[in-house]
Symmetry: C2
Subunit: 380 residues, 2 copies
């Protein structure tokens, strides 16, 4: 299902992955962004993300290495570059999706030169993303992130909060020092986005504290847009700013990222309930067992159907083993799955529309499309 949101996927395209990867190694790093040949295989996004890391990591590392000891230690651990004892680790924490969107948007609207000049802005966006992760984990008391213990469990609340504070300062400081004419507008937009991310995190925490019946679908969609869509949109908008795009095109890129972010979250929620455990690595219905108020569940509860009442009753009492299956079926019968699939497709269609307003030529939009396609099936 998720593949079909953007375009029908020819399953044959998946086979020659090795050939595609080999072909790409002949390209100089970064030169291929937005190049028509890049779309020739389904692993375009992975290659874009690999090139993003190659472009972004040196400046990201340099920024973190400049931090005073305690914040450096917590930050390098959080990014996966150090073990808790400070010894070097392989890194690889995070996919660098947001910096990839910055660079892809800059390349799509301004070519390779614009991409090269946007690396610092891409680093700033990645720093902001990670500042919010550090703080969210403290607030949510989440113990695991990217298969490792969260920073606050290793270094304590204070150092995790301080590391997050320092990463926000690093991000906005990098943009303040960037001589690119778009840097002030990018910094203003990124600062606004931080406020929106904070509002999203607050809403998420507040919704967690309410019973499932007391949560409106509109509220959860707004929270998802603020918490997930805003920074994806901001990343795309900043790339457009660095390409010297018009205000209209910058806003269109923002809308593209936001809508793709919502599609991503909807699909993530669908997979959390109906995903194949062999592919997701999580037991079937894991999100339901955790009583998450994910979008399909909230839509089902709001449906006014007999199945909605049944679902509300199931969510209100302790479960035994058979209840999980009943709950999955209740969400489905109340229309939660259908709604989420239609909504995700609709969001992705809106993302495509916004993108084509700013970039009418499909071949220039290919990297951005590949990244959008990637996020909407990443956990499947």
């Amino acid at each position: 299902m998720t593949d079909s949101l953007i375009q029908p996927v020819d399953t044959q395209r998946r086979a020659p992955r090795r050939i595609g990867a080999q072909a790409r190694t002949a390209h100089p790093a970064g030169a291929g962004d937005g190049h028509p040949a890049d779309a020739a295989d389904g692993h375009e996004a992975e290659e874009i993300l690999r090139r993003t890391r190659a472009s972004v990591d040196p400046e990201l590392r340099a920024a973190l290495d400049g931090l005073p000891g305690p914040m450096r230690r917590a930050a390098l651990y959080h990014f996966g570059w150090q073990h808790p004892d400070g010894s070097p680790a392989a890194g690889g924490a995070g996919k660098a999706l947001r910096p990839a969107l910055v660079l892809a948007a800059a390349a799509a609207l301004g070519g390779p030169a614009a991409r090269d000049r946007a690396v610092r802005a891409a680093v700033a966006v990645e720093l902001v993303h990670n500042f919010t992760l550090l703080h969210d984990d403290v607030m949510d008391r989440d113990a695991t992130r990217r298969h490792r213990a969260t920073a606050w469990t290793v270094f304590g609340d204070a150092d995790a909060i301080l590391a997050g504070d320092a990463l926000q300062a690093l991000a906005l400081g990098l943009l303040a020092r960037d001589v690119h004419p778009a840097a002030p507008a990018a910094a203003a937009r990124l600062a606004d986005c931080v406020v929106e991310l904070c509002a999203g995190q607050h809403a998420d925490t507040a919704l967690e504290g309410r019973g499932p019946g007391g949560v409106g679908l509109g509220e959860v969609l707004d929270m998802t847009e603020a918490k997930t869509g805003a920074l994806l949109g901001c990343a795309c908008a900043i790339g457009a700013l660095y390409a010297g795009a018009s205000a209209q095109d910058v806003d269109a890129l923002d809308a593209f990222g936001r809508e793709a972010g919502l599609a991503f979250q909807l699909i993530d929620d669908i997979i959390g309930i109906w995903g194949d455990p062999r592919r997701t690595g999580k037991p079937a219905g894991a999100d339901l067992a955790a009583r998450k108020k994910s979008l399909p569940v909230v839509a089902a509860l709001a449906s006014g159907t007999p199945a909605a009442a049944e679902l509300a009753a199931l969510y209100a009492r302790p479960w035994d083993a058979e209840d999980l299956e009943s709950t999955v079926h209740a969400v489905e019968r109340a229309g939660g799955r259908d709604w989420a699939q239609v909504e995700a497709a609709d969001r992705m269609a809106r993302a495509m529309q916004a993108l084509s307003r700013a970039i009418p030529e499909p071949e220039r939009a290919e990297s951005l499309l590949a990244l959008a396609e990637f996020v909407t099936r990443r956990t499947s």
Copy 2:
């Protein structure tokens, strides 16, 4: 003692306060900064702070009012403009010392026009100061700030952390939107200062966890500079940047603020032990009773005298009523009081030297001198 750090104070100058205040109301707000006539009474600083609030509060309120609901509520409460239930309060939380330093430095080096154009930067500095207070109170579990319950005790940790995050973003966002040519350099400097403030807070937390004998005097001075001096220096430096001052003068203003900040902390620590309870509002020796590792105590412990050993023994065991007096005397006999007085005078002398490098004419430096004098006797 504190009065004499800058200049001998003629006690007669305190009497005609009302006359001085009346005379000043004839001046248009703000026009008097740096004007020679301003130094004619000892309440110059209070008048500067009052004018600062008048200049800064409208833009500060507008920035806070633009926040989404939950962060706005916590921030307006923290600033004293709202009660916990959201009803209006009188405000007046905080002295606005840091924005006053921004405006006074701008006026001293660039005249009234430079001061007027630096209001947004002054707001940014005040926002950063309050972001760090919000987060420090969460980390330190401090329940009281400015005679009111701290924000985290009223709204919870998450909302206090998010409000702090949002205030940092507002601060750097304001500078990113400021068209003044000095805004990017000011933003870069303010971002660096945030990182230094985080390092200072980390050091403070780390020192708290150690026994009094395990704390070096140099460490405590470094921590004090990072936690208190850095933002006072940054405020002065940003004012100088907005006046178009040379890099050398900007750095001299930074040094002025840092050294004055250290002098302030030293005097605050002296008052915390030997201050007159009728003037401080705290019982005599309150800081000792709380076992604070204040600068005179750490200096006394590091003195290598027999009194130092006695003091270490007193700090290592529970007290009864007579021990407080013995401890005060031990700090004194070990030279802690003398050292702190000499060090404070030395820091203030260095502050004056730095100031006169950038502003050789005493009459132009009067507002900054008045503010420095104010902070070094504010709690006496």
